[in-house]
């Protein structure tokens, strides 16, 4: 696949159809793959990679890249196309400046997860079927796929590309995933248990802002947390509830727009399962307003910015067991 992608990118660059390529480049270690812009065949040859560490979602980078002169080629995994589609619906990306190529994905692991499973001296990794082979300095080691993939990939919602100009490889289907299982578990807790759970998780937050910076729904020209005039920036730093507030406000801000790409949890250095907050919103929207996934259909009306006669009334909170 990597070779096919490089060949395609080189061809498009050479013909002048695109001026730059948005992809992933290799870093110091095998798992240090990061998003990068390539402007020549030489750069592509030197460092373009596509492997099982290419988890990062490139859609958000198109906001800046599509405002430049000329066209940008971007490679999008199925889940990235949801974000791309949502950003188009929000007028954040200049569509005519983008050439999107859909690429297949069987789930992406990352260095943190592998190291957590005891792998050291990682040189590369390969997934075949359900077996995951890690090449290390100390020889090849294998693990079950389920053990080395993050939760977002194990509960992948779709192998189907929502939007693209061209497809490399086969397109898949929208999957019947179990992504709301953990949310259901949290819903079954008592309010006190749930509060304790989130306090426990969120107390680890160091406010590095990685989740916000990577989030393809967090694309404000000026984030409210960076804006003194918003009246929120100072609120979030008031006391020990600070981080909790930050994440709650952020979840509200992306509600109805989150594509459940899971990047927030992937980049969190403290391994906080942030995506569960967003999934709770998605699940609630599905239950209260009918099935809706942001990014799926760019012409669909988002339930939170569209009024219908059958909309849930605010009192629904109490009917669902909220405190009076």
């Amino acid at each position: 696949m990597q070779e096919m992608m490089i060949a395609k990118a080189r061809e498009l660059l050479k013909s002048g159809a695109v001026q730059r390529v948005l992809g992933w480049k290799a870093g110091e270690f095998a798992y240090d793959v990061e998003p990068a812009v390539f402007e020549s065949a030489q750069e592509l040859e030197k460092s373009f990679v596509y492997n099982d560490f290419c988890g990062s979602n490139l859609s958000k980078y198109l906001i800046a890249q599509s405002r430049k002169e000329g066209k940008t080629l971007v490679f999008l995994k199925p889940c990235d196309t949801y974000s791309f589609s949502q950003l188009l619906a929000e007028h954040r990306i200049v569509r005519e400046n983008v050439y999107a190529i859909g690429i297949p994905c069987q789930g992406k692991t990352d260095g943190e997860t592998l190291k957590g499973k005891g792998f050291t001296g990682i040189l590369s990794a390969q997934c075949e079927g359900d077996t995951f082979t890690v090449h290390t300095l100390y020889g090849d080691k294998t693990a079950a796929r389920a053990d080395v993939l993050p939760e977002r990939c194990l509960n992948c919602k779709s192998k189907k590309h929502m939007i693209y100009d061209e497809l490399l490889g086969e397109d898949g289907e929208v999957l019947d995933s179990h992504r709301f299982d953990m949310v259901e578990k949290l819903e079954k807790m008592t309010p006190d248990e749930r509060f304790a759970f989130w306090r426990g998780e969120l107390s680890r937050c160091i406010r590095c802002n990685a989740c916000r910076n990577v989030c393809p729904a967090c694309t404000c020209e000026k984030c409210v947390f960076d804006n003194d005039a918003s009246g929120i920036a100072q609120k979030a730093a008031a006391d020990s509830f600070e981080e909790n507030m930050f994440h709650i406000i952020r979840a509200f801000h992306v509600a109805g727009r989150c594509t459940d790409c899971g990047e927030c949890s992937r980049v969190c250095p403290q391994n906080i399962p942030l995506h569960l907050l967003n999934r709770k919103f998605i699940k609630d929207i599905n239950e209260l307003y009918g099935a809706y996934q942001a990014g799926e259909d760019p012409d669909a009306k988002s339930p939170l910015t569209d009024y219908t006669m059958n909309d849930a009334e605010p009192g629904i909170v109490y009917h669902r067991g909220g405190n009076q």
């Binding site: 929000e90 007028h91 404000c220 020209e221 984030c223 409210v224 005039a229 609120k235 988002s302």
Partner: protein, 666 residues
Amino acid sequence: MQRIGVFVCWCGSNIAATVDVAAVSDTLKNEPGVVFSTNYQYMCSESGQNILKDAIRDYQLTGVVICSCSPRMHEATFRKAAAAAGLNPYMVEIANIREQCSWIHKDKAAGTEKAIILGRAAIAKVHLNAPLTAGESPVTKRALVIGGGIAGIQTALDIAEAGFEVDIVEKQPTIGGKMTQLDKTFPTLDCAACILTPKMVDCAQNENISIYAYSEVEEVKGFVGNFHVKIRKKARYVDTTKCTGCGLCTEKCPVKKVSNEFNLGLDNRRAVYIPFAQAVPKVATIDADHCNMLKSGKCGLCAKVCTAGAIDYKQKDEIIDREYGAIVVATGYQPIALDKYDEFAYSQSKDVVTSLEFERLTNAAGPTGGTLLRPSDGTHPHTLVFVQCVGSRCEDDGRGKSYCSKICCMYTAKHAMLVREKYPDTEVYVFYIDVRTPGKNFDEFYRRAVEEYGVHYIKGMVGKVAPRADGKLMVQACDLLANEQLHIEADMVILAAAIEPDPSARHLATMLTASMDTNDFFTEAHPKLRPVESPTAGIFLSGVCQGPKDIPETVSQASAAAAKAIGLLAKNKLTCNPCVAHSDEWMCNGCSACEKVCPYGAITYMDKEFRMPDRTTAIRRVASVNPAVCQGCGACTVACPSGAMDLDGFSNSQIMAEVDAICKMK
């Protein structure tokens, strides 16, 4: 720093009984920025307002907090007083310590504490207030009346009399509405047509009135004083400028079996028809669903016989764009469908009819020429049973309406009386829950039916109507006063079906952004003090669209709505609400969230060139608000993810400051 004055009102004992007003003014004196604080018996009185004006001058106040009743009551009063003393009126904030405090609490200590907190919140807000200046918008001096029944006709005539242009939009081929179908009108028993048709003719002849019959409102944009309306003039396939209304086509049309809606399906009309003799405009209409020529291209008889050459099979719907300053809704009502009331055998027997059908059966212009005959066999009925409250005042059984339809008691008394008068050999029974006859000469009218005409009024409901093979209707009912079961062999049963708003009203309300209650009646701005205005500025309510009412009441309300509309049209300029939204273009993402939630269409987007901090230029999509269209509802400020949208007078930071002040520990 603002120099704030606090004024706590006793409202006689309304506030002072459950709030220690002196404690409130003393405590609020210590709040930051407060340089003056007092309390007074009636702040809204002349002398109360003078205290406010004097304090503004003496203490050079830059902000004012009035702890009193709801801002809906006296905000305007205090703003005017402040303006008279030289302070910008939008520097006045009201803390509602009556409706939201004294009236709902019994414990004086708790009430006092809450009043202080509410005052504190208002002070926190005033600190962030900025003077606002209201703009002006012009007024289009023309009114639109939607619905051409007696309500719409009366409103249009009154507005036209005042010298303003009025358009009536009526979806039927003629104006006149339900009243044209009635026989006599209570309590004076004059003939409906005799009193209505002169008004219809007046409408047609008045040079200020344009009638758009067989037309519907398609789209409404704009705001008070400046509505832009699209009217769909449905194709009649008849050139109304040529048609003389001679009716020759309606006699020659070969399609004879079209159910006649004017007679509620009790007889038939042709595919080309004029609803009734006094129709306004009196022109023919071709029913496209039944016309052979329009369906298959074979016929053309009406075009051949028309001496005026008015038939035009190629006519298309026409969209008319018009501008209006005021809109009056007069959409009226329909009787409810009775398909869920099988116990009364309405769908099983032709001799079970609704009261409106009964009007047609007794009307000289009706299918029987005014002689009361049973629809099934054309014989003279001897026993008639009237059932009241069919679907009105209904328990929540999913079939009827919880409200009283108001007109049924009186028209049933009228029907019963007229039958007994014309046919003394009949027995007439009326089953009722209660007889409600408030109104001038109403109760006397009902008593005449009982005492002079010998109508049998029985308190109780009919349980079942069973048609018998011989054509009789077996009515099973209870007499609650005598506590016994009754079995009556009836020839006809007449059902007083509940009335409900016309089904087109719901869609119209959405277009007008006018609010409705759960029964789809339009809501008035205040149930007692502003009964003919919708809460949406520039929209007025006339007739049953606002709630059940009879003809005298409808006509009064129609004139009242006209007076309100005239008051608006008489103005050259309207003062705009300065509390409108604006977008901070540097923060705007151009995501369209605000545009989607704006109920007034006040937000548009443009691509604008910006000089960025790094000295490059960038074209960004940003929102802009039309302040003349914005109503200041604030929906956009909540939807905006970046906080770029803000509402003057109710800014995000002001609301946060209020919340902080309320949450602050003592």
